[in-house]
């Protein structure tokens, strides 16, 4: 039997047992290096270790070595300066490249079983407040999960080489790409292969292979791939976010098998799995319940003993125990498998002096991305008027980039005069999404209009995000004269009984620029006898523009 328990991986060296490809490492080498690393960690008195290694083989050595030495391991999500700063006080050392391990190797500690309850691993994810959240797990929780996976799919996978497109810093990649194959005796590819072409090249090198992939990759695999060859894949795992059913169906057409989707989280580990448009099947020993709002509550051997994890996922549980997901109950969204807290980004955006109010939402187009509705402050409006829209949006993106990954930076911006709150004082997420999808406005906001002695006075607010501003001009947006004439014509048609056809203009005067956010007064009077619409825009006491529009009846 090739299966080893996670706690028994360092008991004895197994020369014949393969661990990684390119460069190859067998179990005896893994065993020796892990015990050498353990000795080095112990000699230096290191008790808490942060590990971020792109090479899954080195990661295996680091984890086993640390656990053998009784060292707790933290897997930070990335190596950004803020991340390193955040965890610096919580750890004694960082392992981020091969040289860091090389510096620690010493004459090895003796072989021994790992203690399931004292060995610790901590994962990092974004919590609902947006603050990175640390999740501590014991080796027992991880061992339970690895055992369940092997019981479910071990027979299918046989000797398949495990090829992954996801990072091993997160629970899914860590379990599926490293810990599970280690215990099952399957070889795995060291590098994360994020592109379909690389996945294909690695696959061709093995008679049997399985993929540990994500929706980001699986929904973007093109016709340039050798699908007949790839259809030899033993199993395609997908996790980290929802795989659209179209993408699953397209993989079925090409591979003659449904991808296996795993539902889980850093907190809970695996919850359930499914293939195609089936309800989710909970893993054995995972017990589900629901709170009053219908959100899933989870008890499982992959959680600390006795702990019930409350999720924000609404669900409908069928009588056979399988379930459907009905959406999130909070404002956490997932973009390409990354968990993003909208309130956290909104707070960060509000901290910029140019922003008075903001709401974020998801824009579903080719790829889902974030969009921002922004009400600019007086400073912000000043920047827009004097530096242009691009400077404003780029500056705000730059500001946000200190708080989130590039992926979460809003790609679409809508600058509003105010947030269109509903009668309850709320702006439902669906409305945010609709506003982000709508094209930029081409008409003014009409605040009020009154008539006296045949002359209309119309109070207009110039939308800060008017479509005409982008090209006219990029760094100093002004309202084009031709648009002012068009608005006068259109508003005249709405308010007065006018001949329908535009026949020319006279005595046009443009005296002062009209700019984003201005409030102006438009005066309209129709001279019936001459067939002329008189218009004048004023900003306070200053005349902006004026002129006469000649009108005729359509069939005159």
């Amino acid at each position: 039997m090739k299966g080893l328990k996670l706690e028994h991986l360092l008991l004895e060296p197994l020369q014949q047992r393969s661990v990684t490809t390119e460069p190859e490492m067998n179990h005896a080498q893994l065993w020796a290096q892990s015990l050498s690393l353990a000795a080095g960690l112990q000699a230096r008195g290191i008790q808490r270790l942060a590990v971020h290694l792109e090479d899954a083989g080195l990661l295996a050595i680091a984890l086993l070595g640390a656990w053998r030495a009784g060292v707790s391991v933290l897997l930070p999500a990335d190596l950004q300066p803020q991340t390193r700063q955040r965890w610096d006080d919580a750890v004694d050392a960082w392992l981020v490249e091969a040289a860091d391990l090389d510096a620690l190797y010493q004459a090895p500690l003796s072989a021994a079983a790992l203690d399931l309850d004292t060995c610790q691993l901590s994962l990092c994810t974004s919590g609902s407040s947006g603050e990175p959240k640390r999740i501590d797990k014991t080796l027992r929780q991880l061992a339970n999960e690895v055992q369940a996976l092997e019981a479910l799919w071990g027979a299918d996978l046989k000797d398949a080489c495990i090829i992954g497109s996801v990072a091993t810093q997160h629970i899914y990649g860590l379990l599926f790409r490293v810990l599970w194959p280690l215990c099952a005796g399957r070889a795995f590819v060291r590098k994360q292969l994020a592109f379909p072409e690389d996945l294909q090249r690695a696959s061709r090198e093995h008679p049997q292979f399985a993929w540990v992939a994500s929706p980001a990759l699986l929904k973007r695999m093109g016709d340039n791939l050798d699908w007949p060859a790839l259809s030899q894949v033993s199993r395609v795992f997908s996790s980290g976010g929802a795989l659209p059913i179209e993408a699953a169906g397209s993989l079925y057409d090409r591979l003659q098998q449904w991808p296996t989707e795993i539902l889980g989280s850093s907190e809970t580990g695996g919850i359930a799995w499914r293939q195609g448009a089936q309800p989710w099947q909970p893993f054995a020993d995972v017990a589900l319940s629901q709170d009053a709002d219908g959100a899933l509550r989870i008890a499982s051997p992959y959680l600390p003993e006795g702990h019930i994890e409350q999720t924000a996922d609404a669900a409908r549980i069928h009588c056979d125990g399988r379930f459907e997901l009905l959406g999130r109950l909070d404002r956490i969204v997932k973009l390409e498998e990354k968990r993003i807290s909208l309130p956290m980004l909104e707070q960060a955006l509000m901290a910029h002096t140019w922003v008075a109010e903001t709401r974020l939402g998801v824009v579903q187009e080719n790829r889902a991305s974030l969009g921002a509705l922004v009400v600019l402050s007086a400073d912000g409006l000043h920047a827009l008027r004097n530096q242009g829209r691009r400077t404003v949006t780029q500056t705000l993106r730059q500001h946000l980039s200190q708080h989130c990954e590039a992926l979460a930076l809003p790609r679409r911006w809508r600058l509003l005069r105010q947030l269109p709150l509903n009668a309850q004082g709320k702006l439902p997420q669906a409305d945010v999404a609709a506003l982000l999808l709508a094209p930029r406005p081409k008409a003014p906001d009409v605040l009020e209009h009154v008539e006296a002695n045949g002359e209309w006075t119309v109070q207009l607010s110039i939308p800060p995000d008017l479509a005409y501003f982008s090209g006219h001009f990029p760094v100093t947006p002004v309202l084009p004269g031709v648009v002012q004439v068009e608005w006068a014509f259109n508003l005249g048609q709405q308010l007065l009984d006018l001949p329908a056809t535009f026949a020319g203009m006279e005595v046009l005067k443009f005296q002062q620029l009209v700019r984003p956010g201005d409030q102006v007064e438009l005066h309209l009077r129709f001279d019936q006898e001459r067939g002329k619409l008189y218009f004048a825009y004023r900003n306070g006491v200053a005349a902006c523009s004026s002129g006469r529009i000649q009108l005729v009846n359509a069939h005159a």
């Binding site: 390409e336 590039a406 679409r412």
Partner: protein, 89 residues
């Protein structure tokens, strides 16, 4: 405009269109400017999207068995050279 300039111009327009970039015009993208990471600031999902869009628009296939195919995606000039080479092939 030479053929190469026209192609580079078209690829820039394709990048803006396919990736839904706002407030960026063709003139804002340098042919030698790095597209991913620093530079234009595109991410790995953009790289996947752009790979599909280029193949579709120019009716070419990225040779999945060649090494380092992603090097063609360094900047607009290298993409243009790649498209030209594949169209001839």
């Amino acid at each position: 405009m030479s053929d190469q300039h026209r192609l580079e111009h078209d690829i820039k327009a394709l990048i803006i269109e396919a990736l839904g970039l706002e407030d960026i015009s063709v003139d804002d993208i340098g042919s030698e400017q790095t597209l991913f990471g620093e530079g234009l600031g595109l991410d790995s999902v953009d790289a996947l999207e752009l790979g599909l869009a280029i193949q579709k628009k120019y009716g070419i296939k990225i040779d999945a068995d060649a090494k380092d195919t992603r090097n063609h995606f360094t900047n607009v000039a290298s993409l243009a050279a790649f498209v030209t080479a594949r169209q001839v092939a």
